[in-house]
């Protein structure tokens, strides 16, 4: 089975937006090896003739009518915000693509 290097774990941590110490990366890469070896057992029976199930329910087409229901007040919406300003959520500078 594929093993995860420290760099692999660092890349996963980047995708998952978690800052990790070197020690954490080291520990996780060891633990991941053990866990991945265990969970890779699924491949023994997951043959091509078996259909995947992503959900246990056979439900289809569950929808709601296009009707407006009350929103939160802006005060309630912002009540848990670490910072707010001008009735908006205040967040640190965004580095990235201009949306």
């Amino acid at each position: 089975m594929s093993t995860l290097s420290r760099a692999d774990v660092a890349n996963l941590a980047r995708l998952a937006r978690i800052e990790m110490t070197d020690q954490e990366l080291e520990d996780l890469s060891t633990e991941m090896d053990v866990i991945l070896t265990a969970v890779a057992r699924v491949q023994e029976v997951a043959t091509s003739d078996v259909k995947p199930t992503s959900h246990p329910l056979p439900l289809r087409n569950v929808v709601r009518a296009d009707v407006v229901t009350p929103s939160l007040t802006p005060e309630a919406a912002l009540s848990g915000a670490p910072a707010n300003e001008e009735q908006r959520f205040r967040v640190p500078q965004i580095l990235g693509e201009e949306a």
Partner: protein, 499 residues
């Protein structure tokens, strides 16, 4: 040494790909009951679901599914028997859950086309733009970047987020690659977006206002040497927000690519941003590593399996195709080509048609909407459809004029009053006292007064100098505050003076 467009097309063949995002005009959001009013106060249209609060769950808006199917049908797509929502995972502060609910490998509609017609050197020519897929997703919130020199994201000190837009239903329409347009690539791109806009408007599923962002276009452009088989590297220009910009962006990218290729440099596969002021594109922040969206089926939602009955019901409600409708109306109303183009340009087709349906003569209806009403709309800088005058009002005014109860001059005042919010035509006429004076005795009194005031002019008329009557008629009209029928006044006056 910048290349001319002619240099580019002499050597390269452009290949287009267009992705259009359409905000649906549902009353409520894609996955919650929050309202979708444009321009509302910040964060007044939010709830636990569209704020991505812990524990909140999405439920699909039925109207959004129906609108998506309608779009697919209008674009000659097949509706897939089984479609699903997936999660597209990436972090961005304006996306509350840090995943977007979207459709990935199981979209609602696939494989359609749009035919567009453009003017070429050899006359009008049709191009077929093939549609790969139509899928549903949700919009993000809006960021306001504070501080920094430019007010742009780069250099801002911090940002303020408003989630009113988060969760508004979006439909993404993706074309297959469009080869074979040659030098007309920019025109084809523009014509495609324009045609799509007309189709969407005819369906009534979106406001399709590019300037408000309810229709956004991403243009993919690549070049290959003429005759080459393999595709060149493409760039993706984001959020081009006017029809003119679509054309400019495609042209600009073609030139930029050609300059790179001629130098022997590589075109970088990247996202670029169109700059309205310069008509050029600017590179987005280059990503050090490729994104991995880790799509997987959205476990909080169940699949969409539209049955034949549902699809056929929607198909039956499809309106006439815009191109066919335009041809039909032009014939029915006998409108010359040039005027027809003006009417389409002014977005007046729907409103004129509605007015005609209420009994108005097509030429007169068109005259009002494209004349006086358009002039007042321009003054106020709003669309004619947003003025406080309805097709029913205009139809009524046209009818009053033809019955002689209003003169054209009075009618203009009625229109002006209605637009100023003074009410329906009847109310405006009542409150402003606008009515043709048909009582001949009072007209005669006014004529006598005019003659008494200008005896010399009257004498000239008696002596056969008919043009002098104008001054007397003017005086009568003034006394009756314009409410007399000028033609009738003239008749009476001339008769009275023995002419």
């Amino acid at each position: 040494m910048s290349l001319t467009y002619e240099d580019v097309i002499a050597k390269y063949e452009p290949v287009l790909g267009l992705e259009v995002h359409v905000e649906l005009n549902t009353h409520s959001k894609m996955f919650c009951g929050c309202a979708t009013v444009f321009g509302a106060e910040p964060n007044t249209q939010t709830c636990p679901v569209c704020l991505g609060m812990p524990g909140a769950l999405p439920v699909v808006n039925e109207k959004a599914i129906e609108s998506s199917i309608l779009i697919g049908l209008a674009l000659h797509c097949s509706v897939t028997p089984f479609s699903r929502f997936s999660r597209k995972n990436y972090f961005y502060p304006d996306m509350p859950k840090n995943f977007q609910i979207s459709q990935y490998d199981e979209p609602i509609c696939v494989n359609g086309y749009v035919d567009v017609e453009i003017e070429t050197d050899e006359g009008p020519k049709q191009f077929r733009v093939e549609i790969e897929r139509v899928h549903m997703e949700e919009d993000t919130g809006k960021s306001l970047h504070v501080g920094g020199a430019t007010g742009r994201i780069h250099g801002a000190d911090y940002s303020l987020l408003d989630f009113n837009r988060a969760g508004i239903p979006l439909v993404e329409i993706v074309t297959k690659i469009v080869p074979g347009t040659g030098k007309y690539a920019p025109e084809v791109a523009k014509a495609y977006v324009a045609e799509l806009r007309d189709i969407l408007r005819s369906l009534g599923v979106s406001d399709v206002r590019m300037e408000q962002g309810s229709l956004r276009c991403d243009a993919n452009v690549s070049l290959r040497l003429i005759g080459a088989e393999t595709l060149g590297t493409r760039s993706e220009t984001k959020n081009v927000n006017s029809l003119r910009s679509v054309e400019r962006a495609v042209r600009g990218e073609m030139i930029r690519h050609a300059e790179l290729l001629n130098k022997g440099a590589r075109v970088v596969q990247e996202t670029r941003h169109f700059q309205e002021d310069t008509g050029l594109t600017r590179s987005g922040r280059s990503k050090e590593q490729a994104e991995d969206y880790r799509y997987f089926p959205e476990p909080d939602l169940v699949p969409v399996e539209p049955d034949a009955e549902w699809i056929e019901k929607l198909r039956a409600s499809l309106p006439e195709q815009p191109t066919l409708r335009r041809k039909r109306l032009q014939e029915e109303w006998s409108v010359p080509d040039k005027e027809m183009a003006a009417m389409i340009n002014a977005d007046a087709l729907d409103i004129v048609e509605a007015t005609v349906k209420l009994g108005a003569d097509p030429t007169r209806a068109r005259g009002w909407w494209l004349g006086e009403i358009s002039r007042l709309a321009n003054e106020k800088d709003v669309a004619i459809a947003d003025l406080a005058i309805s097709p029913a009002d205009v139809a009524e005014i046209v009818s009053l004029v033809s019955k002689g109860e209003l003169t054209d001059q009075l009618a203009r005042q009625v229109v002006e009053g209605a637009i100023s919010g003074e009410g329906k035509p009847a109310q405006v006429m009542e409150s402003r006292g606008l009515k043709v004076v048909s009582d001949e005795s009072s007209l005669m009194a006014a004529i006598e007064n005019a003659i008494a005031a200008q005896p010399e002019t009257a004498e000239k008329v008696r002596n056969g100098h008919i043009p002098a009557a104008g001054a007397l008629i003017g005086a009568v009209m003034k006394e009756t505050k314009g409410q007399a029928d000028a033609a009738r006044v003239r008749e009476l006056l001339l008769a009275h003076l023995g002419q």
